[in-house]
């Protein structure tokens, strides 16, 4: 900081030109990155014949019928798929925050035999490719009669199965002053009430990061629903979108773009609303 101030007067011209150049570069890059998304948005309100012929972002002719037609183009109205996705998302958020929060509290703030070993195992599962567990888990879930239910998608969230979130919360809880626990103990709080009334309220930012990431990942999740849901009535949004590709072929890009836009809107919305938590969250733990 101080360096900048000291050298600034000597080279004002070149420094400001450099900053300006950086802005130009960053803006160009931003436009290139967002162009595909803006093109999709614009194509969703263009008549089909103009989608691939009129490359401009501002439609020369508006046509909102893709939203109306796309909504009812599949077996069930698109709203049903969104509600299905939402049910899974909400349950996953509750499960992840609760179960990962509890596990993180144990790892970060309590002393008990085996803690280091369990923590190492937890870190080990971070690197474990999910497909190694795939076949046996599928067999277990199908023997439990859980195929074509949301249980295989939701129950793991309640069992602290996402080590990323545990790790994120452990990092956060470790940064809280140790004296808080001591003070709570003197006031007669056991570890349960310390967790509920002292640590949890301070961890709201970490919980929020977990909730937002859970929302975005679960909303986009394709593989598990593909595996466990075969009844179209239970389909989530990504499964429904894929059906457009199979059923309609390449004839109805307008409808595909309209429903794709609807499917991405909640993610982008949540991202804009929760940027602070998200960006700080990845900066400290490095999760995607």
């Amino acid at each position: 900081m101080r360096t900048d101030e000291r050298t600034a007067p000597a080279r004002t011209g070149s420094t400001s030109r450099r900053v300006f150049l950086r802005h130009v570069l960053a803006c160009v890059l931003g436009i290139v990155l967002l162009y595909p998304l803006l093109w999709m948005l614009s194509s969703s309100v263009k008549p089909d014949r103009l989608i691939f012929s009129d490359t401009g972002l501002w439609p020369s002719e508006f046509d909102f019928s893709h939203y109306v037609d796309g909504w009812v183009a599949l077996d069930f109205p698109f709203g049903l798929y969104m509600v299905n996705s939402l049910i899974i998302v909400v349950l996953s958020i509750i499960g992840n925050v609760l179960s990962c929060g509890m596990a993180a509290f144990a790892f970060a703030r309590l002393r008990f035999p085996g803690r280091r070993t369990f923590f190492a195992v937890m870190l080990g599962t971070l690197m474990l490719p999910a497909h190694v567990l795939l076949v046996p888990q599928y067999v277990i879930f199908s023997n439990l009669g859980w195929l074509n239910t949301y249980l295989p998608l939701v129950v793991p969230a309640f069992l602290a199965s996402n080590a990323f979130f545990i790790f994120l919360m452990v990092q956060f809880m470790r940064a809280l002053p140790k004296e808080l626990d001591d003070a709570a103990r003197i006031d007669g709080c056991g570890s349960y009430r310390t967790f509920l009334y002292v640590i949890s309220p301070l961890c709201v930012p970490a919980f929020a990061t977990t909730a937002i990431f859970t929302f975005i990942w679960t909303w986009n999740e394709f593989f598990s629903p593909l595996l466990y849901l075969t009844d179209p009535e239970l389909y989530t949004v990504p499964l429904a979108l894929r059906q457009f590709m199979n059923a309609e072929g390449l004839s109805s890009w307008g409808q595909i773009f309209a429903m794709s836009t609807l499917s991405l809107a909640p993610v982008v919305g949540f991202f804009i609303a929760g940027q602070k938590y998200l960006v700080d969250g990845i900066a400290t733990t490095g999760i995607k």
């Binding site: 960053a26 144990a106 993610v267």
Partner: protein, 314 residues
């Protein structure tokens, strides 16, 4: 640490049970830790049991309907001879070793660009980060299919320059390249981590380097790179592990076939076809374990190679 010990020591005289109680408290165990870990223990049951079970299934012939039948090394022999499997490994390696360096290089370059004295950093950071949140969603993969299709915008632009056009998605030579471009598009996640790391580099180091006459490039090479190398390493390890497990992109772009001509047949897509298309669960388990071994090997190589380029301050 020191403060809490001090506090405990000073509290000891007021403790009704005397000094001994204080000493006992220091080594006190919170058995409630196990209660807090109960859900996690349950989850581990769903992890450890399947983990070992799938290792066993790797040596069996299993189609879900009949009980697994021990088949010795048959699955391994089959993997050695399975040319489609070899091809899917080539696809996955190509994808990983082209797109990971490209996206990390882009992430680092943009992080350096944004790092020094720019207004609007938060806005840029968010715009660049957004793609990595949706890069593996079905909607975006379908969008890429449209952009790089025969009539897509990429061809529209190329036509203006008179370059002969083709469907980038429909041609086996270019389909994987399209997916690589999609992965590079999501460079924002490592970029945010690089930005955080760049901020930790003390300004005084650059000052000293500048006094010694180091150029900007030299400063980057000799000051920035060594100091952020642990973070680059961390991102590299995570990105390789993630890319080796790519599935959705290949599935959606080819409707699950891995086409055209198996050019987007990622390893995990082939595994899925074997396990849930042919219900060849034993073979699918063996494939999953092979991938685990490959990923572990790459991670180990990464950790061993650390000493040549990763710099730890302490």
């Amino acid at each position: 640490m020191t403060t809490s010990t001090l506090e405990r020591t000073s509290r000891r005289p007021q403790d009704p049970q005397g000094p001994a109680a204080g000493r006992r408290r220091r080594t006190r165990q919170d058995w409630s830790g196990y209660v807090f870990l109960l859900p996690w223990f349950g989850g581990m049951l769903f992890t450890v049991v399947p983990f070992l079970w799938s290792l066993y299934l790797s040596f069996t012939d299993y189609n879900l309907l009949n009980p697994p039948e021990f088949s010795g090394l048959d699955n391994i022999r089959r993997m050695v001879a399975d040319t489609t499997l070899h091809h899917s490994l080539v696809v996955t390696f190509t994808y990983t070793f082209v797109s990971v360096p490209l996206s990390l290089a882009a992430a680092l370059a943009v992080a350096v660009l944004l790092n020094k004295g720019m207004g609007g950093l938060r806005i840029y950071r968010s715009v660049f980060y957004l793609p990595s949140l949706i890069g593996s969603s079905v909607a975006v993969v379908m969008l890429w299919r449209a952009i790089f299709g025969a009539n897509g915008i990429v061809n529209d632009v190329l036509e203006r320059f008179g370059i002969a056009t083709q469907s980038w998605i429909g041609s086996p030579d270019t389909a994987l390249g399209v997916l690589i471009s999609l992965n590079v598009w999501t460079f924002g996640a490592p970029m945010v981590i690089f930005l955080a790391a760049l901020r930790q580099v003390p300004a005084a180091y650059y000052e000293a380097a500048a006094l010694d006459g180091a150029s900007r490039w030299r400063q980057f090479r000799s000051v920035t790179m060594p100091l952020i190398s642990p973070v680059v390493f961390f991102n590299l390890v995570l990105a390789i592990i993630g890319s080796m497990q790519t599935f959705t992109q290949g599935y959606v772009v080819s409707n699950g076939t891995g086409g055209p001509s198996d050019s987007t047949l990622f390893y995990n897509l082939y595994l899925y076809q074997q396990g849930f298309g042919n219900f060849d669960m034993g073979y699918a388990s063996a494939m999953a374990w092979l991938l685990l071994v490959i990923i572990a090997a790459f991670t180990a190589i990464n950790f061993l190679a650390q000493k040549y380029w990763v710099h730890y301050e302490n």
